[in-house]
């Protein structure tokens, strides 16, 4: 019986990274996720690694293995292997430590069988990913990491509140599907907490703010895990295709549709190539969230398949953008162009990723995305969702499929003549490009991983994306999108600008809040300092030095008829007549008595 969660392999394994010499470290960071991949592949289904922590609330389950968790576990580790191959050039170890812990956290969530474990790994991911962003060591990365952490702390606390309420309501810590009709405040809070990490508007700005500020490798690693882990939690916690009594969460359909459209519009507005890719993550995750909202077995299969393929082609896109950034040192469309001349392989691999994200027939996006859209197509009441997803499919081709390669590799020659990407980067891209085409042409291995085996619930057979009519209509959709791009090219001219997103609210109000707090508390501090420390303490000191003598002098004057000067003289020399000393002694006792 396997008792060892694969998450711990990466999390504890990360501790070795800093002490290994560079050559060994490079191999080690590739071998470690590879070992995890092999381990996950061989895991039998079932619930393992159970310990009782809270009496009466059920067991903590460190390892719940079924087809859903396995599919995510496999793609998470597979992607990690290739991402670390791409990151072969990295000499520092801090990024790799953070990345391994982060990926370990993602695996932890995926294999967790209870809500407490989910929360622990969830927060681990948030912290580790912040360090990945910080590892860029630029001023902007620090600001972005700061904002990123704040948002994820808020999201994590909402999730925690939801988890606590849910545990109270269901009486156990088990992480089982929440039904729509049994919804309560706790499940709503969990949903919101998860949607923050899924980058659903209006909580999405952290993604386009932080990921593009990470380093070449950092952005690549980040792009795969946080949002897809949320998709997993949505599929695990908010759908239950095997259970006829379970009701899906229709609100997720709306959220997914908004994400799909929002990603497109903002990607069109963006100038920075990695920001364009960041927005297209939101667009793609929208498809998966929508599928989770539909919640049928085919939609869930489609969401898993799409998450699987999405991680591959999205990593490929981030790699090609990363290779350009690595070689040219620039990431803005207004500063890039004409790179096809010297980076043709990066262009070819990037274009394969771009075509896969656009779901061109015979690429992986087509075999996965059509499954979601096709299932929704069968529901007459979901007409609007279907229409939005078709529109979003066209829009993906526009912004990620054409805009990204066109403005980076073609458009205007800006005189850059960088070398082709390093060999290890090219090999990593070639492997992912191969997967993009392989899974597009040969769907069997992909569908075999899906929770319901890719079953088409309407025909009773395995889903068949390759129908002549489907290919033709998809090509019509994509080619006319391409036509619009080139016809409207003037309107798409890039400008050296950034786009305001919902982060404007906390960035602007954050600054105002900072200045307000600065004004209020620092003024208060300064006033207190002036009044108490500078003038107040001086007066107190002067009083303590001179006060007793004056009091004694005044008393002596009053009761014994000696002048205060005389008393002061006596105080200095310590010579008092007995009567006077007795008088003062009596006054002291009287004082003590009354006080």
């Amino acid at each position: 019986m396997p008792e060892f969660p694969p998450a711990l392999l990466l999390i504890f394994g990360a501790a070795l990274v800093p002490i290994l010499p560079l050559a060994a470290r490079r191999i080690y960071v590739i071998a470690l996720p590879l070992a995890a991949l092999a381990y996950i592949f061989g895991l039998p289904h079932g619930e393992f690694a159970q310990i009782t922590l809270l009496q009466g609330f059920g067991e903590m389950t460190g390892l719940r293995v079924d087809k859903l968790s396995k599919a995510f576990g496999i793609i998470f580790t597979l992607n990690a292997v290739i991402a670390f191959l791409f990151a072969f050039y990295v000499k520092r170890s801090d990024q790799h430590v953070a990345a391994l812990v982060y990926i370990g956290g993602a695996l932890g969530v995926v294999f967790a069988g209870d809500l407490i474990s989910v929360y622990i790994y969830w927060e681990l991911m948030a912290v580790a990913s912040t360090f990945i962003i910080l590892a860029r060591q630029t001023e902007r990365a620090k600001g972005a990491a700061f904002r990123y952490l704040l948002i994820h702390i808020v999201g994590g606390l909402i999730l925690l509140a939801g988890i606590v309420l849910t545990i109270g309501a269901q009486g156990s810590i088990a992480f089982d599907p929440f039904s729509w009709d049994a919804r309560h405040l706790g499940t709503w809070l969990i949903l919101v907490g998860v949607l923050v990490n899924a980058a659903a508007p209006p909580f999405s700005a952290w993604l386009s703010d932080a990921y593009p500020e990470a380093s070449v490798t950092g952005g690549l690693i980040l792009s795969a895990y946080t949002t897809k882990t949320s998709v997993y939690v949505l599929l695990r916690g908010f759908t239950d295709p095997g259970n006829a009594a379970h009701e899906a969460w229709p609100i997720l359909i709306v959220v997914g549709c908004v994400m799909a459209l929002y990603g497109i519009i903002f990607a069109l507005l963006e100038n920075d190539m990695r920001r364009i890719l960041a927005y297209s993550i939101i667009n793609q995750v929208g498809f998966m969230v929508c599928a989770a909202g539909v919640g049928t077995s085919m939609a869930v299969d489609g969401a898993v398949a799409h998450a699987f393929c999405h991680i591959i082609y999205k990593s490929l896109l981030w790699m090609s953008a990363g290779a350009v950034l690595y070689r040219v040192g620039k990431s803005k469309c207004t500063e890039l162009g004409g790179l096809y001349k010297t980076m043709p392989l990066t262009l070819i691999f990037g274009t394969i990723g771009a075509l896969a994200i656009s779901a061109l027939p015979f690429t992986s996006g087509f075999t996965s995305k059509t499954m979601i859209v096709s299932d929704i197509h069968h529901h007459a009441e979901l007409f609007w969702a279907w229409l939005v997803l078709e529109i979003a499919s066209a829009g993906v081709f526009l912004h990620a499929g054409i805009k990204f390669p066109y403005f980076v590799f073609f458009n205007k020659d800006r005189g850059h003549r960088p070398k082709e990407a390093p060999k290890t980067m090219l090999i990593a891209m070639a492997i992912l490009a191969f997967f993009c085409i392989l899974l597009g042409c040969w769907k069997a291995p992909l569908y075999a991983l899906l929770p319901n085996g890719g079953l088409d619930s309407y025909t009773g057979e395995t889903y068949q994306p390759y129908k002549w009519a489907k290919i033709i209509t998809q090509m019509q959709l994509l080619m006319f999108s391409a036509l619009v791009f080139f016809l409207f090219l003037k309107l798409l001219k890039r400008t050296p600008t950034i786009v305001l997103d919902t982060d404007w609210f906390y960035r602007k109000f954050g600054k105002i809040g900072y200045r307000f707090a600065d004004g209020l508390f620092n003024t208060l501090n300064a006033t207190v300092h002036r009044v108490v420390v500078i003038s107040g303490l001086g007066k107190l000191g002067a009083f303590l030095a001179k006060g007793p003598q004056e009091v004694v002098g005044a008393l002596g004057d009053m009761f014994a008829g000696e002048s205060s000067d005389k008393i002061a003289e006596r105080l200095r020399s310590g010579t008092f007549p007995i009567g006077l000393a007795a008088l003062f002694g009596m006054l002291l006792f009287a004082l003590l008595y009354f006080l």
Binding site: G143, V216, I265, E390, I472, L491, L500
Partner: protein, 107 residues
Amino acid sequence: MSEEQPKQEKQNKEFDWFDRPKSRRLLWILLWAICGLFLLLEFTIKRKAVFTIEKMPFFFAILGFVACAVSILIAKGLGYILKVPEDYYEPEEDRLPWDVEGGEDNA
């Protein structure tokens, strides 16, 4: 980078097919031809329409065209409000204490 290099010889060798006006014209023709081809192929398929709107001839071509055109126009319109200069959040005089200087994207 390249401007400093000796020009003539370098540019003769360089692969610049996509920059030539002739190639660009060819690509345009190709694009229109592909669009036309897939429009014609519409007559070879029998579509299972679930929604009434799908029964419209060339529906997906029209959808792709209109959706993208409208997206671009919306983005253009929103750009007037949402696009701001790159230093919008970080004007020099507006630095906060945590905005410390950092290094390059060093590996």
